[in-house]
């Protein structure tokens, strides 16, 4: 699926240079479930953003789906992102002014998909995550767990190869956190590749591989026994 070599991300201001990612080497195969862990500020989210092409590496190589993407223009990256990657955020990032159905549909709006098919897929995915009965509600009328289920539905409705989740359970209580994790596990079982940033060792256990980071470097990789 993706392969990084010597990949660095450096932020520069007038006076300070911060190395967020320091010569990372990382390979993720199709169908893997990878959890990224580490203390705050270690570069987890930056790595996730670079994987998701929301941020570009300062140096090094990033091969996605067999093609080099480091240095591609924004429009190209947006196109790859749209076709292949779904996102789930800690703070859900739902649009308050849109209903549940419209929020889910958003991920299909910018694909060339006829509206009838779009509707079908939205209904199907809402059913799958168990949010169909709330389709007409606004995000503010839902609980945190329900909101994150909507976000998951939005992330998967475009049938992306890769799902990126940035602390998806961070804003949820234990019960709802578990619920979301089981949902991700199921998606992985169905074939989606998942990369998740988390602080919770318990939730990291759902992943097949855990990558530990410190100061912008990959410290240890640990594979769960199959």
């Amino acid at each position: 699926m993706l392969s990084m070599r010597e990949l660095s991300r450096v932020y520069r201001t007038d006076t300070v240079e911060t190395t967020a990612l320091d010569r990372i080497d990382l390979d993720i195969a199709d169908g893997e479930f990878v959890a990224i862990m580490g203390p705050s500020g270690c570069g987890k989210s930056t790595l996730l953003n670079v994987i998701g092409m929301l941020d570009s590496p300062s140096s090094g190589s990033y091969v996605f789906n067999g093609g080099e993407v480091a240095g591609l223009p924004e429009a190209k990256l947006a196109d790859i992102r749209k076709k292949h990657i779904g996102f789930i955020f800690q703070s859900f990032n739902l649009i308050d002014e849109l209903s549940v159905r419209e929020n889910v549909e958003l991920a299909l709006l910018y694909h060339d998909i006829p509206s009838s098919e779009r509707k079908q897929r939205v209904e199907a995915v809402m059913d799958k995550v168990g949010i169909a009965h709330r389709a007409k509600h606004r995000p503010s009328q839902l609980s945190g767990g329900q909101q994150q289920r909507v976000a998951v539905a939005r992330a998967v409705v475009g049938e992306p190869k890769l799902i990126l989740a940035d602390e998806p359970t961070g804003n949820l209580d234990t019960q709802h956190g578990e619920e979301v994790m089981r949902m991700l596990q199921k998606l992985n079982a169905e074939g989606s590749t998942i990369v998740m940033v988390t602080h919770s060792p318990a939730h990291a256990d759902y992943a097949g591989r855990v990558v530990n980071m410190l100061d912008g470097k990959v410290l240890v990789e640990r594979r769960r026994a199959a």
Partner: protein, 830 residues
């Protein structure tokens, strides 16, 4: 606490300079425009209220109702003959006076010069109580050679205002007459319908020569205190019957009272009475125009206040944390409301200071452009300090009330817990949407009105008036005694001057204020009809390029084409008139006159004879035979209907019209002046270019139209400014949403489209509101004009497109900036 509030307010402004600039400057423009316009409206509404006893001083106006069309025309001038019978029959009238404008020739340092003078009854200054500096207003006009002058006229003539007893030489029919100064009055203020600097006593003989049917000047009345003008107006129909004798016109008994009515108008209302005056230096106005300016003032103010509210509510969310923290620190809601109202008043106050500066700077130019002496005074009777303070409080409170109450309703816990700063008070989005739609509707409406007004002004200037406007010099005073006896010789000489293509004498000319009518008896009709009756020399039609439709024009070689009256002794004149009535004359009529005489086809009118009452009913009616029909010409303003006109050659003209084909018109003018000096040395030479006279005729229309356009543009600019600020806040508020959309694949174009559409929707709604309203308004405005442009969809569509362009232009910049931001930053924004 006030200090903390003030600091928070000033820092809030400093923190967002764009916001502060848009808010203060936008409001300042709005306030300045509003102040200037309302000053103008007040100026127009307070004409002549400076006059002592203005409340009981009235002008008698003359109303003519066309029996054919029912069209009413009202004029400020009326028959001097009405004054005495009015005073006699109505005991409520304290005094009634006549006043007629004259242009006598004075000798100044040996040179003849024209002077604008009023000839009035001795009691004139008891009715029109202008303040006297010197002399006694009750006796100032006791003598036939009395002369009363304004202070500036005295200084112009003598270099001092201490001039009682000094004399001025007037030339009357070639003889010198000494006028003795008996009084000096304060100059009339500019906002008066009257405009005189010299007043002498009216000549009783002139007045007697001109009886009923002869409109010679103005009649003013002073009522006794407490008397009602309505009672007099109600009594006028009976008064007409008692006082106006019916005369026999071709067998029909006709009274002047049949076609004319009179009404009393308070001097303060004359300016806006809709009655035509004849003084181009005192153009009248109408209530609709004044009201329009008032409405535009309020609309601009409304737009500016709407901006203020919009920006304040849009920004409210950003200050939610401050409110929350102040509440935690123990601030009561009332204190916070006071704080926000205080801030609003601070901004409104700053804006007002800028507005007053803008108004002070612009008023001299606007006043000159509109032909007024508008000025800005803070203290005194016409001081605006109190209204300004009132306006400041109203705007400040109006702008601050809504945000103040909404902001202070936030629950501090919720805001701090959610760590959200950009919360939006519920309902403010809808309020903003309504205000934005209203702003756009007003802007679109004003743009439409501007386009239509401008098109009509252009139309007035460029429309085919049916005569040649370019290359014409008009020389005045052909009807002075010294010229009248030799007018045909002068015309013949003018025709021989180098550079002159053609010259003619005429009683009607471009932008003329002179109306001469006669009544015509048409065979088979019971009642006579009134048509224009103007003497022109045979070259008139060629000189002014008036197109012949049928028959021929007047010829100098046919005896019956002329109706020359030798200026002889009265009994000889009577004989000559009787001979003419016996013989008859040939005339040329315009298309409209032919039609009113019953001939829709110009050709059918040729050779037909009607009879005209021109020498008085006792002389009998003179037969006139139509030998030619010419195209209609529009010599007066487009506001007035085309006049049905009969042209005859009476060898007596008011103007000499000269069509030049020289590249150097000034040389032609100079040649004309030399000719003039040779034949009438004691009559000053006065000449104008016809195109300049026509432009002058539309100057006020144009100035008012362009001022309207200017203020409309200002309103649109203020609305744009607000929209620009609002777009910035909206783009900022939707940053998170835009980030999410981008993460899920939206391109920059998608995002720009999204934001632009948000501001395009209100424009669509605004168009739906503005179009019908503007259509209705412009239709009634255009109806004032006899000749007018058609109200096509063009201006409406164009205004809509301009509004779309404005919306897209103001929003697109922000939209592109936000759309280009990396979505990570956008998502971190929360």
């Amino acid at each position: 606490m006030w200090r903390s509030n003030l600091i928070a307010g000033i820092r809030a402004l400093q923190k967002n300079r764009t916001y502060a600039f848009i808010n203060i400057f936008g409001l300042a423009i709005g306030l300045a425009a509003c102040i200037v316009l309302l000053l103008y409206v007040r100026y127009e509404l307070t004409y002549d209220d400076w006059l002592k006893d203005a409340d009981r001083t009235y002008q008698v106006q003359l109303i003519h109702t066309d029996p054919e069309t029912g069209i009413r025309t009202i004029q400020q001038g009326s028959e001097g003959a009405a004054a005495a019978p009015l005073a006699k029959d109505f005991p409520q009238i304290e005094a009634a006076v006549r006043a007629d404008s004259e242009r006598p020739v004075f000798l100044r340092r040996g040179e003849p010069v024209f002077a604008d003078m009023l000839a009035a009854d001795p009691a004139f200054f008891q009715v029109i109580s202008v303040p006297f500096l010197r002399g006694d207003p009750r006796h100032a006009l006791d003598q036939a050679n009395s002369l009363v002058m304004s202070r500036s006229e005295a200084i112009k003539q003598f270099g001092t205002d201490d001039v009682i007893g000094r004399t001025i030489t007037r030339i009357v029919r070639g003889e010198k007459v000494e006028l003795r100064v008996t009084g000096v009055f304060e100059d009339l203020p500019r906002h008066s319908h009257m405009n005189f600097g010299l007043v002498t006593r009216i000549n009783p003989q002139d007045a007697a020569d001109c009886s009923w049917g002869c409109v010679n000047g103005f009649v003013y009345l002073k009522l006794r205190p407490g008397a009602s003008p309505d009672a007099i107006t109600a009594g006028l129909p009976a008064w007409e019957k008692r006082n106006i004798p019916a005369v026999n016109v071709g067998g029909a008994m006709v009274s002047e009272g049949d076609a004319f009515d009179w009404r009393l108008v308070n001097v303060r209302d004359v300016h806006l009475s809709g009655a035509t005056g004849d003084d181009p230096a005192r153009p009248d106005n109408d209530r609709t125009t004044v009201a329009t300016f008032g409405v535009v003032a309020l609309l601009i103010l409304g737009i500016a206040v709407a901006n203020f509210v919009n920006l304040a509510t849009a920004r409210a969310g950003q200050r939610a944390r401050e409110v929350a923290l102040r509440k935690l620190a123990g601030a009561a809601r009332a204190q916070l409301i006071r704080q926000f109202l205080g801030e609003s008043l601070l901004i409104a106050g700053l804006a007002m200071l800028v507005a007053l500066a803008l108004a002070e700077l612009s008023i001299p130019y606007i006043a000159a452009y509109l032909g007024t002496d508008l000025h800005l005074a803070y203290l005194g009777g016409d001081g605006i300090l109190l209204p300004i303070i009132g306006l400041w409080l109203v705007v400040g409170l109006l702008g601050g009330l809504y945000p103040a109450f909404y902001l202070t309703r936030f629950q501090p816990g919720a805001i701090l817990r959610s760590n959200r700063s950009a919360a939006e008070p519920p309902g403010t989005g809808r309020l903003r949407a309504v205000l934005v739609v209203a702003q756009f509707a007003v802007s679109i409406g004003l743009i439409i009105c501007t386009l239509v007004v401008y098109a009509q002004i252009q139309f007035a200037r460029s429309t085919d008036a049916g005569f040649r406007r370019d290359g014409i010099i008009l020389v005045a005073n052909m009807d002075r005694k010294q010229l009248a006896t030799q007018s045909d010789a002068v015309i013949a000489e003018a025709n021989r001057l180098p550079g002159v293509a053609s010259a003619a004498g005429t009683g009607i000319w471009p932008a003329s204020g002179q109306v001469l009518n006669a009544s015509f008896q048409v065979p088979g009709r019971a009642k006579p009809i009134t048509l224009g009756w103007y003497s022109v020399s045979p070259q008139f039609f060629d000189t002014l390029g008036i197109r012949l439709l049928a028959g021929r024009t007047l010829s100098p070689d046919r005896e019956r084409d002329m109706m020359r009256l030798p200026l002889l002794r009265p009994e000889e004149t009577r004989d000559a008139q009787a001979a003419l009535v016996e013989r008859g004359t040939n005339v040329v009529v315009n298309r409209l006159a032919a039609k009113q005489l019953g001939y829709d086809d110009p050709q059918a009118a040729i050779g037909k004879t009607v009879r005209v009452n021109t020498f008085g009913a006792d002389m009998g009616l003179m037969p006139v035979t139509i030998v030619g029909v010419v195209e209609d010409s529009r010599f007066r303003s487009l506001r007035e209907a085309v006049e049905p006109t009969v042209f005859y050659n009476g060898s007596y003209y008011s103007r000499l019209a000269v069509h030049y084909d020289s590249a150097d018109p000034e040389a032609v003018r100079h040649e004309l002046e030399r000719l003039w000096k040779r034949v009438a040395a004691d009559v000053p030479f006065e000449a104008d270019y016809a195109d300049a006279k026509v432009a002058e005729m539309y100057r006020v229309d144009r100035a008012r139209g362009l001022s309207f356009a200017g203020f409309a543009g200002l309103a649109v600019a203020v609305a744009c400014l607000g929209l620009f600020g609002l777009a910035a806040f909206t783009a900022e508020r939707r940053t998170k949403e835009i980030g999410i959309r981008k993460v899920f694949g939206a391109s920059i174009a998608d995002i720009v489209r999204l934001l632009v559409w948000q501001f395009t929707k209100p424009v669509v709604v605004a168009n739906l509101i503005a179009w019908p309203v503007a259509w209705w308004l412009m239709r009634s405005w255009l109806n004032q004009f006899d000749a007018r442009i058609a109200l096509t969809p063009g201006p409406f569509v164009l205004a809509g497109l301009i509004a779309f362009a404005i919306a897209i232009g103001t929003v697109a910049g922000h939209a592109i900036r936000v759309a280009r931001t990396n979505p990570i930053h956008a998502l971190r924004y929360e």
